[in-house]
């Protein structure tokens, strides 16, 4: 069997038969692939711990008839601290599901960029004290941008005029912001303060340091969160399941 190596982020796993797992991997080389980890559910398996979601490993894979087979793996990053903090663990889980939803199997275009983007987001989540939702919304917006789904936030999606200050709106179905005169112009429009709009506009541009220096108000973050929640659901054409649990955690804070 021909084989190949890849650097992979585990984004989903399912049980297969008695002892195996079927993994969805996002690789830097090939994009999203599926692979079988044989025996991964036996406690003595060399794969058992490595096949947890958001683990990054170097893998040796064998090309199989229908599914590729994981033959060796070496953990590069386990993001262990993320696994001891509920808020961050829930967000890392959500990142994986989001990446899975917005990518197709074996689409190598953008693969390296998306891999870097995702592991960088996990690293920020792990290494900084920053508001995990700032990192989350930045990740959402950048992933959307890379896949050509950016919401329009600098001009009104209804009249096309540039958006100036003041209370504006956001319509998930129309795909972006609504100017102050059109802000009730769509059935699904939600209102945004000028600050929330500013956050939506700047998050995709900022990286690392600049992101951490951002301290939006709680209200602005809630508005951004609500707007993106519905926008993403619409663009993904289905619910992002792990977002429900995240909503619960946010509500109980």
């Amino acid at each position: 069997m021909p084989s190949y190596t890849a650097t992979a982020l585990v984004i989903h796993r399912n049980n297969l038969a008695e002892n195996d797992r079927i993994l969805t991997l996002y690789t830097s080389e090939l994009g999203k692939i599926s692979a079988v980890a044989k025996g991964a559910r036996k406690p003595t398996s060399k794969f058992s711990g490595a096949t947890e979601i958001f683990t990054v490993f170097r893998a040796l894979l064998a090309t199989g008839r229908s599914l590729d087979i994981l033959s060796q793996c070496e953990i590069v990053q386990a993001y262990t601290p993320l696994r001891y903090d509920l808020e961050r663990l829930a967000r890392a889980t959500y990142f994986c599901e989001l990446l899975d939803r917005f990518t197709m199997e074996r689409d190598p275009v953008n693969a390296e960029t998306l891999f870097q983007l995702s592991t960088a987001a996990l690293r920020l989540l792990q290494e900084t004290e920053a508001d995990p939702d700032v990192i989350t919304h930045a990740y959402e917006l950048r992933l959307l941008a890379e896949q050509g789904y950016s919401p329009i936030c600098d001009s009104c999606v209804k009249c096309g005029r540039e958006i100036t200050r003041g209370q504006v709106g956001f319509s998930p179905s129309l795909g972006g912001a609504l100017c102050s005169s059109d802000r009730y112009g769509a059935e699904d429009s939600v209102s945004l303060t000028a600050e929330a709009l500013g956050v939506l506009q700047s998050l995709p541009e900022l990286d690392g340091e600049a992101l951490l220096a951002l301290h939006p108000s709680r209200k602005a973050m809630q508005e951004v969160g609500r707007a993106l929640r519905w926008y993403i659901k619409l663009r993904a054409e289905r619910a992002i399941k792990s977002a429900d649990f995240l909503d619960q955690l946010r509500a109980s804070q």
Binding site: K46, G49, A50, T80, Y84
Partner: protein
């Protein structure tokens, strides 16, 4: 199923839905069952229905039982100040086999799994709080060392600690009698994380 007589095809179909059973084994089992003496086959079918009719969840701990309150919960010799929370009944059985633990249990009937849309209210979590209020001072969380197990443990800890109970989690690490240099990286990372002073 078109090669089988209808009733046999139906049986093969049902068996194939069992966990870990493929089409080949389903066929083998179906032929075996078909050749059983009538009485034996009936015993088998009755056993399935009896389980369905008689097994329910214990009113106290949500363990599977054929009574209102399960045997563990009825045992007056158990320490009622300590409670071990597990995901499934088979985890409770595994803990019992250690002969080391004499406290109460609580069975969640699953683990929180956000990606599969299994959220806390779908599990037997609500039922924990009145029990804790009733004299439990220590809770031990005993889940599989998986992302789901960890999510569940952290969630429960965040809800139980404010109530003033001591919450601990079983250690994750090397198997007893194992070899350090054969251990996979993830296990070693977790063993390091769970190290303790001696």
């Amino acid at each position: 199923m078109k090669h089988y007589p209808k009733p046999l095809g139906k049986l093969v179909g049902e068996l194939e839905r069992l966990p870990g059973v493929g089409p080949k084994s389903a066929q083998r089992m179906a032929f075996h069952l078909m050749r059983l003496p009538y009485e034996e086959a009936k015993r088998f079918a009755d056993a399935i229905l009896e389980v369905k009719d008689q097994i329910k969840l214990c009113k106290e701990c949500s363990n599977f039982t054929d009574q209102e309150v399960c045997e563990v919960c009825r045992d007056t010799k158990r320490d009622r100040t300590i409670m071990c929370i597990v995901a499934e009944t088979h985890d409770l059985i595994a803990m019992e086999k250690t002969n080391e633990y004499r406290g109460l249990y609580h069975v969640l009937q699953g683990l929180i799994s956000p990606m599969d849309n299994i959220t806390p209210e779908m599990l037997k979590i609500r039922e924990i709080f009145p029990r804790v209020a009733n004299g439990v001072t220590e809770v031990i969380l005993a889940f599989n060392p998986t992302t789901e197990g960890q999510t569940t443990a952290l969630f429960l800890a965040s809800r139980l600690k404010p109530l003033g109970v001591r919450v601990s989690q079983i250690a994750h690490g090397l198997p007893a009698g194992g070899n350090l240099d054969y251990a996979d990286q993830a296990t070693l990372i977790s063993a390091l994380q769970w190290r303790r002073e001696i």
